[in-house]
């Protein structure tokens, strides 16, 4: 019973981090039609950026505020200079371009911050543990579990009800028509990519106290977020939420119960979904 609860909480907190990263990935895919291989690197930049900001101003929240915004700016610069040129091209070339960006960003992180691993302490407000049956549970993880749905709902409200949200959805559905009615689609695409980069980096900033910050964290997370968005349904917003929960819980319970097979479980899930239901759990018909 107790391990059931601990695993569920672990799965939920990890799932919520996965959601933050994947929701940016799925938004970029849904609107721009590009599967961004460099998304994990933007996540990593968020974590490292937080680390640097915390050296300048000793506040975790300053890092969470500044690092994602800086990453979003970088993301927009990447969109304007590189991605914009491949929208009409074959999917594989888009994938390869963003893969090349991944190589550059990941090595740049290694040059700037070195190969060492860093530990970030959670802020005072969220440090420590709360009692949970006979054991205790870290407050920070509970905080993550709360952040996910709040941010998800905020984004959902943004896309459903605000003028900007509607414009983005219009451009995602029919680019030419949107341009026809006077929407500046290129600018919109830049902003959407910036939003996706911001979400990835926010995930990275919030992940910093949850796991150690190291140069391999981007490469690991990108495959997991691919799994999340495919399982949930490419381009689907609620799908990213469902996919992240499923993968988070699967990994948490897998660690306890599946032993050595645990490492293969996410890939098994990905393969199963692709074979049985390629549009994903909540995706639209493809």
């Amino acid at each position: 019973m107790e391990s059931l609860l601990t695993n569920t909480l672990n799965g939920l907190s990890w799932g919520m981090l996965l959601f933050l990263i994947s929701v940016g990935l799925t938004t970029i895919f849904g609107v721009l039609g590009v599967l961004n291989f460099a998304h994990g690197s933007l996540f990593m930049l968020g974590a490292y950026g937080t680390l640097t900001v915390m050296h300048l101003f000793p506040s975790f929240w300053a890092g969470v505020l500044i690092a994602p915004l800086a990453t979003a700016l970088l993301g927009m610069a990447l969109e304007v200079t590189l991605l914009r040129r491949v929208y009409g091209r074959d999917v594989s070339y888009q994938l390869l371009l963003t893969f090349a960006v991944l190589l550059v960003l990941d090595d740049a992180v290694r040059i700037i911050w070195g190969p060492a691993y860093h530990v970030v302490d959670p802020p005072a407000l969220l440090s420590g543990t709360v009692p949970l049956f006979a054991h205790s549970y870290p407050v920070y993880r509970l905080f993550l579990i709360a952040v996910g749905p709040v941010l998800g709902l905020a984004l959902w409200a943004f896309f459903s009800w605000t003028r900007w949200g509607k414009i983005i959805r219009a451009a995602a559905q029919d680019r030419e028509m949107a341009e026809g009615v006077g929407i500046r689609v290129p600018l919109l695409f830049t902003l959407v990519f910036g939003l996706g980069a911001w979400l990835a980096a926010l995930g990275g900033a919030l992940a910093a106290p949850h796991q150690s910050v190291g140069p391999a964290m981007g490469e690991r997370i990108i495959i997991e977020s691919f799994i999340v968005v495919v399982v949930g349904g490419l381009g689907s917003f609620p799908g990213a939420f469902a996919g992240a929960l499923v993968l988070g819980l699967l990994e948490a319970f897998g660690t306890t119960f599946a032993g050595r097979v645990q490492m293969a479980l996410p890939y098994l899930l990905l393969a199963l979904v692709l074979l049985v239901r390629p549009r994903g759990l909540l995706g639209r018909e493809v």
Partner: protein
């Protein structure tokens, strides 16, 4: 993308072959070793391009099939199989059978879904190699302490000397390339191109698209297994990172670098990849950032790849068109 290769390149191919055959006599040992690796990865990249450039399938799981070949070779050699021909046959066979199973599932999907599915199945093979410690040696890999000699009738040639290993690899790389050459020029090769160009139309005209794709997948997988066998001999071990998706990305990068639209492009890409890596790492260990910085303009401005662009320019000049 790929045009049907013509025979007009034969003088160039002959010059290349003579150069490759003479290389160990004038190159230092280090470059012979590098050349061996280029030939193995070049063969691997060309086998990948049968799927990507010719059939239009972007596979991110070829490392898994190469790894099956490498582990089969390592397991047989550590368990006392003394016939290298048997080891080779088993490695290629095991990779082909695995490709049949993996491909049977993968060919049902297109584009990004195919890429993701091949990645997932390749990573499942990786976890087997990484976690089934009793058989595969786990994350340390499976070392091979003695490689049986090549038995050719009355002769027995040890592969210990770098030059003899080079010639052994060269023979198989050339054989693999000739096989692929014959394949893409055959009617079957034309059907592969048809799958890439318009699979709906092809299926309306009566072809079984899935079966054609599966045949291409198994062929590419068998050749990846051959490359895995050679890589295992060359490294004297099989390691789980050969099956990881980041290794599967290598033939993809090499193919883009050289050009997916030409027959030799992927192999030229492999050569550029290794020579560049060797050169860049003499003054910085951050080779990936250089590779990325080269790939970005190649993808953006030279989608035909470096070799493809050169070949194109050369042909245009010869034909007198600008």
């Amino acid at each position: 993308m790929v045009k049907r290769p013509s025979l007009s390149g034969w003088p160039g191919a002959l010059v290349l072959l003579v150069f490759l055959a003479a290389a160990p006599s004038f190159l230092p040992v280090y470059w012979v070793l590098l050349g061996t690796e280029i030939l193995i990865m070049g063969l691997f990249a060309m086998s990948f391009n049968l799927l990507f450039g010719y059939t239009g399938l972007l596979s991110f799981g070829q490392g898994g099939l190469l790894g099956v070949g490498a582990y089969t070779a390592a397991l047989l050699m550590t368990h006392g199989v003394t016939s290298l021909w048997l080891v080779l046959l088993a490695s290629v066979g095991a990779a082909a059978v695995t490709a049949l199973l993996v491909g049977f599932l993968c060919v049902r999907r297109d584009e990004i879904f195919f890429a993701m599915l091949s990645l997932a199945l390749g990573m499942m093979l990786f976890t087997v190699a990484h976690n089934w410690r009793e058989v595969t040696g786990g994350s340390d890999g499976l070392p091979v302490f003695s490689v049986p000699p090549v038995v050719l009738g009355p002769w027995r040639v040890s592969l210990f000397a770098p030059a003899s290993a080079y010639y052994f690899v060269l023979f198989w790389a050339v054989a693999g390339a000739l096989f692929l050459w014959a394949l893409v020029r055959s009617p079957f090769g034309l059907i592969l191109t048809a799958v890439r160009e318009n699979k709906e139309r092809l299926s309306f005209s009566g072809a079984n698209v899935k079966a054609v794709r599966l045949a291409a997948f198994v062929t590419a997988g068998a050749l990846a297994g051959l490359a895995g066998f050679l890589l295992c001999l060359f490294n004297r071990m099989a390691t789980p990172d050969m099956l990881h998706w980041s290794f599967s990305a290598r033939p993809v990068l090499m193919t883009i670098l050289g050009g997916a639209g030409t027959f030799l492009g992927p192999a030229v890409g492999a050569a550029i990849f290794f020579v560049l890596e060797h050169w860049v790492t003499t003054f910085t260990e951050n080779w990936m950032i250089v590779l990325g910085a080269i790939l970005i303009p190649v993808v953006l401005f030279f989608p035909e790849g470096i070799w493809g662009t050169l070949l194109h320019a050369f042909r245009n000049r010869r034909c007198g068109t600008p």
